[in-house]
Symmetry: C2
Subunit: 448 residues, 2 copies
């Protein structure tokens, strides 16, 4: 496979919204709506306020809004903070095939950009869809068989900045050649590994992608050069991050099939590989006569990636709980809910939760699908209740409805802005394709 970089750049430079099928546009709107809610959901959390303390000292120019704060900073740091906010509760979207969280880096970069220039909703939506498209295709290059990468890399960190550069570059009107350079510069920033999950840096890696992707497009716009084969060259992106890569995945069906259609929205604010187990345990907890205080032990059968990513039996705080299978299974059984309120420090340290987490035994079974889980709860009297979830909520065949997305949005947004304002900005999201000026119309509603 040659000229992957050029093919992608040409596709991005030449595609207009008329080339995007209506269902794909609709999914782009849903992705943006889901993203913005998640950004408000995390905007007041300690990682953001700590980062803000550092950024305020840098005395940056007031160019774009920090969501949920009455404050503007420079474009790059606004992109960083707003993407970070959307990622840190692990409630953002997931491109399931590659476990990439695609919308954050792309949306945060172009929303910051749109505050400083007139960008129509149609152009914004097109840029968003194209950014997600290239981002997810490159994630496929690193993950779809026969590709073999290192699971330690944080996929959103590897591809998110490239998506941000594509979307920013589209709005800046880059031609094919400059788009090639934007792809290369952004790829040269690809970074981040999973060891920092469960710390403030969980959301930082996607945020860094948003910031640096925006920057890459700004450099390319001025004619800053990079390789013509940055993505596919022997010492380029695909070959350093996968051995072998699946280069065909970058361009097969380009413009025909859109990756945003394979993007899912989470019903629960935690690692997506935990979701089938939550469904199973909520189902058991909802059966008549269920009493969590009588549980003797819990036996889970999970798809192996669940343990690879979320085998954290004793989380110490909310950040660690986000990627703890045990925490969320225990929460589902004890509280019969699995929302943001069930992930806070007080819940993580609740003695009843600690005791429940220790009753959980997990077995990995490669015959299970990613969306599948089996759970059995054995009670002290020897009785048992089981659940077998084949397709968890939020998976592609059980996507959240628009109404569910709206509920998710409002529940998160009120953590940062008044309820009436939350409703107004949600409405603007649904109307995205018709907006005249995204920065003026949505931008005005971002601060409390």
């Amino acid at each position: 496979m040659t000229d992957i970089t050029r093919q992608l750049a040409r596709f991005v430079a030449r595609t207009s919204l008329a080339d995007i099928p209506e269902p794909v546009r609709r999914e782009g709107v849903r992705a943006f709506h889901n993203w913005l809610g998640c950004a408000f959901g995390g905007a007041r959390e300690p990682p953001v306020t700590t980062a803000l303390a550092a950024i305020r000292e840098m005395e940056m120019p007031a160019q774009a809004t920090v969501l949920g704060h009455d404050l503007r900073v420079d474009l790059q740091n606004a992109a960083l903070l707003n993407c970070m906010a959307s990622s840190l509760n692990a409630f953002d979207d997931t491109h399931l095939a590659s476990v990439t969280h695609p919308t954050g880096p792309v949306a945060a970069a172009i929303l910051a950009l749109a505050e400083g220039r007139r960008v129509s909703g149609a152009d914004f939506l097109l840029a968003l869809i194209l950014g997600i498209e290239v981002e997810c295709r490159l994630a496929n290059v690193l993950t779809l068989p026969p590709a073999r990468g290192n699971v330690g890399f944080y996929m959103t960190g590897l591809v998110g900045g490239i998506g941000a550069a594509v979307a920013t570059g589209k709005l800046l009107g880059l031609d094919e050649q400059r788009m090639i350079w934007a792809l290369g510069i952004a790829a040269s920033h690809a970074s981040g590994f999973r060891e920092a999950h469960a710390t403030m840096s969980l959301g930082y890696v996607p945020g860094h992608a948003a910031r640096t992707g925006l920057f890459a497009a700004q450099f390319a716009a001025k004619g800053f050069t990079n390789s013509e084969v940055a993505l596919e060259g022997p010492k380029g992106f695909a070959n350093v991050f996968a051995d072998p890569p699946n280069l065909a995945a970058a361009v097969d069906g380009l413009g025909q099939r859109f990756e945003v259609m394979a993007n899912a929205y989470k019903p629960y604010p935690c690692g997506i590989v935990i979701h089938p187990q939550i469904d199973a345990c909520l189902e058991i907890a909802g059966t008549p006569g269920f009493d969590a205080t009588n549980i003797e032990r819990v036996e889970l059968t999970v798809e192996p990636l669940t343990l690879t990513l979320c085998d954290r039996p004793e989380p110490q705080n909310a950040m660690q709980a986000v990627v703890s299978l045990y925490h969320w299974v225990a929460a589902a059984l004890l509280y019969r809910k699995a929302g943001l309120d069930e992930g806070v420090d007080a819940r993580v340290r609740d003695p009843a939760m600690i005791a429940m987490r220790r009753r959980i035994k997990v077995v990995a079974d490669p015959s299970l699908a990613r969306e599948e889980a089996k759970a059995t709860v054995i009670f002290k009297d020897g009785s048992a209740r089981s659940s077998h979830v084949v397709q968890c909520r939020g998976s592609l065949t059980r996507q959240l409805t628009d109404a569910e997305l709206q509920e998710k949005f409002l529940a998160q947004a009120v953590r940062s802005i008044p309820a009436a304002q939350a409703a107004r900005v949600a409405e603007l999201c649904w109307k995205l394709p018709a907006l005249d000026d995204v920065g003026k119309q949505i931008g005005a509603a971002l601060a409390p």
Copy 2:
């Protein structure tokens, strides 16, 4: 090997200049002097002026000087630009064991920082030496046997930001815990691959490391958290970039042996693996009666890495020539010199050079050392002259002298600042350990 991250953080937080042996301090001064000259040498080149065009549009605050320009930008972008300037002619220093160019990211970050606060020369030198130390040790983790990494990664991009974070963090007074986080945040930015060599992005990758390493320390200073085992954890830095890594190399002899002593300064502005061949051909070209116009062909025997990194037979411009073995061998034979003037576009496109490059045949021989080369020039009359270089100029046993470094500095600095100013700032570099305020004293001489 456990607690690598903590051991390194503790070492950095606790070490004072009194713990650094005098020869190591002296080498730190030489490294800084060599770096600053290289930064002036590249400051007016197109990659810097193109990047400046993009950065000027960002309307950043005037916090630190862009070397060689009458302009100040924010700290991060000053670090980016000044490191980029020092790297783009490939004239900067090289940690030979790992082919890292260590001083650029570290020096550019702390020089920018020092312009905004009082930093003594002694503190600056200590921070510089510690930054280089951690940076090169982590490069060793990825390269020294049994470590196996991917040669496509650009080592300075992987470790340079960590060095910059260490040095910045030392000047910001980070304690052990915050230094751990600074290491982790900086490691999460580790990025860059060699496909973009021979483009403007050659210097951009180290520059990005300088910028983001500085940023990492500023975040950690505010308490922004990362993993406690970011470097050694199973999904951390060492394990994603090498399989296996050599973790012992991070801490063996820490505080006893200093990596800056294994750092070399280039006599020629090109890929360091080309240097032994340049020496060999300069030697042949210097023999009595040598006439380049009579050359029939040139036969080179090289260490294999030379071809891995610099097998570029037909460079099209100065940026490609930097990493072209053929270009510099041809230049040594045709011009009997190999300086900045021999690397410009006009030389690359000189028909005599093009013809000479095509006469060169190369064989890789794994029995050769990195510093070794064999060259034979066969003339049209059938006669031949040979040279066998065992230790090339600039290698550790043939380090450039202070006088040679001074000559190299001045030749580069006059490309950006007046000669008298160049001499003055070179003098300040040699006096670094005694300076009261690096930002005021050296900073005042950075702009033309």
